[in-house]
Symmetry: C2
Subunit: 459 residues, 2 copies
Amino acid sequence: MSAARTIHLNAFDMTCVGHQSPGLWRHPDDQSSRYQDLEYWTGLAQLLERGCFDSLFIADVLGVYDVYQGSADAAVSDAAQLPVNDPMLAVSAMAAVTSHLGFGITVSSTYEQPYALARKFGTLDHLSKGRVGWNIVTSYLDSAARNLGLDRQVPHDERYQAAEEFLEVCYKLWESSWEDGAVVRDKASGIYADPGKVHPIGHKGRYFSVPGIFLCEPSPQRTPLLFQAGSSPSGLAFAAKHAECVFFSETRPDVLAPKVSRLRELAWRHGRDPHSIKMFPLMTVVTAPTDREAQAKLADYQRYASYDGALALYGGWSGLDLSGYDPDQPLRYVQTEAVRSAVEGFTTADPGREWTPREIARFVGIGGRGPVVAGGPGTVADEMERWIDEADVDGFNLAYAITPGTFADIVQYVVPVLQARGLLRTSYEGTTLRESFYGAGQARLRDDHPGAGYRRTHG
Amino acid sequence: MSAARTIHLNAFDMTCVGHQSPGLWRHPDDQSSRYQDLEYWTGLAQLLERGCFDSLFIADVLGVYDVYQGSADAAVSDAAQLPVNDPMLAVSAMAAVTSHLGFGITVSSTYEQPYALARKFGTLDHLSKGRVGWNIVTSYLDSAARNLGLDRQVPHDERYQAAEEFLEVCYKLWESSWEDGAVVRDKASGIYADPGKVHPIGHKGRYFSVPGIFLCEPSPQRTPLLFQAGSSPSGLAFAAKHAECVFFSETRPDVLAPKVSRLRELAWRHGRDPHSIKMFPLMTVVTAPTDREAQAKLADYQRYASYDGALALYGGWSGLDLSGYDPDQPLRYVQTEAVRSAVEGFTTADPGREWTPREIARFVGIGGRGPVVAGGPGTVADEMERWIDEADVDGFNLAYAITPGTFADIVQYVVPVLQARGLLRTSYEGTTLRESFYGAGQARLRDDHPGAGYRRTHG
């Protein structure tokens, strides 16, 4: 089955230090503390394009991890996703030194106005010549809400309702405000655009009022490629309708498989080709010429992982402060609903396992919530094929243990094997990000995507 | 007097077509319709750095010019600042191909949250290694307000009150949240930052609540260089307190002189060195080897100016729709207060002149609200010196008639003359934008700037 499809590779990074590997910035070879250095980003982009990656995916939070120990101290000390720069602003520099790599950018719809955000993505789609994607999140940190004008998070389900309308406004701006033939740009006739083909969207909804015309002329993709990562029921419903790529964090393919299958079914109910949603599990690959060297590399990395940094991240993800618990006592003995729920959410991979805080920290310490695959090129490719076969996924969202070392190792060792097996492209399909996923000629939304319904019929 | 000081040059552009020269995108040599092309921006930045410009200043509006004829049709047809991309997103690509040029970016405080915007400027200051400036505006287009969640503009004076608090929040984030010694980044000790030196700002005000710590570690300039352009009483009061560079649009130096003098006096009352505010009149220079060739070039440009496009811009600036008036009837005969006020606001340069709509359109058609200086290199330099002497200005905000042609002509013909006269640098003073204005070593706010008062005293 796996030989029948080619897979897609996203590199998973964040404009911060030690994204999914708290503490590993201390490793001599790690350069993640160069996150504020433009040359780090342009170098990474060129490396990924050499490796035929589809895109660099940039995560983001607009807050700090201050649940653990009731403060941000551990996050500050260990640089656990703090400091964190804006994810959108290095993209044009990376676009300038590449010609095919895409850029998936995380922006929360909770803290933006659709009229302004649609222009940002329109602008980046122009500047990158059609290589931008939007990872739609609704935010999970209370610390973000408190600093952005809200007393606390908007309730989870209402965030998704607002996001639904946010997308509706964006589709109207991107797909329907300017007709394809609107821009004439004809120096001879003196007409830049035909006012008869540029339309106010007239949106008046529960959350947003946007009467006007879109500020950008149509960009190569119009709507950026849409990524989504929510795994709650409202998150899945949202993804089934809107997402073109979905990210998962599961530690075993057999646990992931029913979720992928469920999402494809939901997409089908929305009238979409179930296989038009590309499914990406999170994975951290540690590789070297041989299995033994890869295992030794992993053991070396593990020496640098930070207990406090890992539990700071875990606190933000789960809402649970593990600082008050014995590091070596299994948490299933802790008799509170909050602990049970948070731990179970984390440990679906091994339902029977009795996790201690120290084991959770060790797990999170490299690769966050996803699996770590350590092995030689063939071993890694085999494991990827196993995920493809068992979980029906379309590619991998590859986090780093150290950066750019982890990505450089993948490009050097694993990519040639994947290409030799016919699993990975050896050249790019088209010029836009969407064409990397759907083939040359499909720069715009597929016709079965709900956003395509906002297009104007011509003539 | 003029020989005693060196001047500063800003290039004035916008991520749109025909910024201050509506219609001139139709000129065969104009490339402003490449505004969505990254190579236009990187080429322009390299050109300006060759010419020892201080910065590229990028204007913005988040709305459309829909006052003239009661619709946006003229703006759409003539591309009068529409389409308009986001001004912030090409900056990192330009920073990657230059090493000294600064980037002044227009962002309205009316439509942003300070916690998020402070991070954007912090990020760009990191990525550009200290070369970013913020042109603080409060927005003037009703069309922007309507699409960004407001029924209409926030009243003018209240916009400035909110902007005042917005700046206060930003200063706290930029200057006081992270102490200078907070970031250790020491792989040996394993400490990235010292939590004892990273402080929540605890801001609770009338417009904003921002309790937390800043998301960015300190960047080279911390606070970006602050630009401002308001000329109303509240705008001037705001500039006198906060601005490090101020833009003016006046057509004659003798009209500008008292405004500059008044602003320096207001700055002095705030305890600031009056000459630490750098004053920039808008100017459009059309130049060539000789005066005769420059005049011929201007005449050629004027053939491409657009009557409707110019009055579309004028409508947005003044709030006045001139489409109902006879193009050739002097407007002083129109007996409405709105017309008198709008026309007088525009024509302070010639108080006695009886402007017709056609004359206004011709005036706006090249260079917007500022003067056009057409002449050979010596003539242009003489005129610049006259402005310096008569109006006590510190440099020029140079708009284009065509781009990059106007800038290329300035770099080729005028810059060498200014350098020969000792008026313009031949190499840059430091590595940051603020050092270009205040000398090597002054990357941070001057001590007499009110933002410096938010710094923590150490020890």
